[in-house]
Amino acid sequence: MDIAISVQNVSKNFGEETVLSDVSHDFEEGKIHGIVGNNGSGKTVLMKCICGFLLPTNGKILVNYKQVGKDCDFPENMGIIIETPGFLPGLTGMKNLQILASLKRKIGRDTIYKTIERVGLDPTMKKTVGKYSLGMRQRLGIAQAIMENPSILILDEPLNGLDKSGVEQMRNLIKGLRTEGKTIILASHNQLDIDELCDTVCEMDAGVMSVVRE
């Protein structure tokens, strides 16, 4: 199977502090890869490095065989949700996604409409994002990540703030995305999410990555 993301000897320091220490791992295409670890273990930093927001102090990251930060600023064809998704609070969810979609012009209003429905929100809702609950915002964040049909998804705690039925709905959505052949990297504190959803599991501890399940 092809490698979608290859992390090669990546270290990341913030001043004197080492957050990632010589991390190497290949993420195969079409699978859900789980990353577990305590707060501050380096999960989010690794994800930000994969997305190109943070540049590794040492090592390199290849996404679809292109080196992030060298061959491209940010990987193409990648959808993300990292930390609390930020939207313009004065606009509706639909309008927020339309603004983001206009940057690439890959999709139209209909696709956005269907994606919002797919994550369990009402696209016709007049409520502005400022009045959304955390769970609704999280769903909208997932919608913006998947709306342009990217082949890779980076999901950092995507089920945060969702109620029980919301979690179940999102789990089914993520499983559905796998059957569509997408590569997903999922970070979660919830062991059940990892056990149920992920094909492979890695653990981060003090910036060091170890494989838990191949």
């Binding site: 997305c51 927001f53 540049l55 998704p85 609070p89 959304y132």
Partner: protein, 298 residues
């Protein structure tokens, strides 16, 4: 064309965040108070002499002075203190464009926001003197008294005869507006570049140093350093006119044909080159910038 749309979209995103942003309201409220305080002297002078004013004169007399330009620009720094404007919504933009396009969008926002701010100052000073003013393109009696009788010196209003004789009020207003805009843009871009390269504290310090340089660099300092005799004092004036960015931004510190101070077009080129230089430096710096976004906008 597509890139231009992306750049405009990034700039527009920042403007959308003006809604409900207390810092924007505070900046503009303080700017209005500043305009009121600065133009109050001219308005009171006109009232005292029972003369009218040309509607742009309050702006011209208030911002023909280096200190006023400095104060107005520093208020703008307050608006831009969180450059390069990274929020939890930034990653969604970044993933759909590239670093340079994103930064170009930020710079477009800075240019437009500075223009809007300057326009607000112009309108605010006009509003302050509106009750007793006219719109015709000629200097008022108030201006004539202030300039020719040296009464301007007495009330600390920099109404210079040179200004009155070389230009009409609207031309003069446009020149001062442009000089202030360029000075503020240069200050903002210096801050942006240092914010990206060395962090927000360094950005703030860079503005402080830039401002201090303009404040300290006075003819007396040059005279003292080079021990110039009084007969060569004009050389110190000319040197300061060229070296101090604040003097470059001051209308009457320019050459209108009878001294060696910088000409207006030379100032425009100097500011233009420096702004372009810092823009290029910022573009180069963004390549290695680590985006650290936290918090939420909602």
């Amino acid at each position: 064309m597509f890139k231009i749309r992306q750049i405009c979209s990034v700039a527009m995103y920042n403007f959308r965040k003006w809604r409900r942003n207390p810092r924007v309201f505070i900046t503009f409220a303080l700017a209005f108070i500043l305009c009121f305080l600065l133009s109050d002297k001219a308005v009171n002078f006109a009232k005292e002499y029972k003369t009218s004013m040309q509607i742009m004169e309050a702006f011209i007399w208030s911002f023909e002075d280096a200190n006023s330009i400095l104060l107005a620009s520093l208020l703008l720094v307050f608006l831009f203190s969180d450059m390069p404007f990274i929020t939890s919504g930034t990653p969604f933009y970044l993933m759909r464009i590239n670093r340079k396009t994103w930064l170009a969008g930020q710079v477009l926002y800075i240019v437009l926001a500075t223009f809007i701010y300057m326009l607000f100052i112009l309108i605010a000073t006009s509003v302050v003197c509106m009750s007793d003013s006219f719109v015709g393109n000629m200097w008022s009696q108030t201006a004539a008294i202030l300039g020719y009788s040296k009464a301007g010196n007495a009330v600390a209003l920099p109404s210079i005869v040179k200004t009155l004789e070389m230009n009409t009020p609207y031309e003069c207003m446009a020149t001062i507006f442009l000089l202030m805009l360029l000075y503020s843009l240069l200050m903002a871009l210096i801050m942006l570049t240092f914010n990206i390269r060395k962090g927000q504290l360094a950005g703030t310090i860079s503005v402080f140093v830039f401002t201090l340089f303009g404040l300290i660099l006075k003819p007396d300092l040059i005279k003292a350093i080079f021990k110039l005799p009084e007969r060569l004092a004009y050389k110190a004036n000319v040197a300061v006119g060229w070296l101090s960015p604040l003097n470059q931004a001051t209308y009457h510190m320019h050459n209108f044909g009878y001294d060696r101070l910088p000409r207006l077009w030379q100032t425009y080129i100097i500011f233009g080159v420096l702004i372009a230089l810092f823009f290029i430096l910022a573009l180069r710096s963004i390549r290695n910038y680590n985006f650290n976004f936290t918090g939420t906008e909602g």
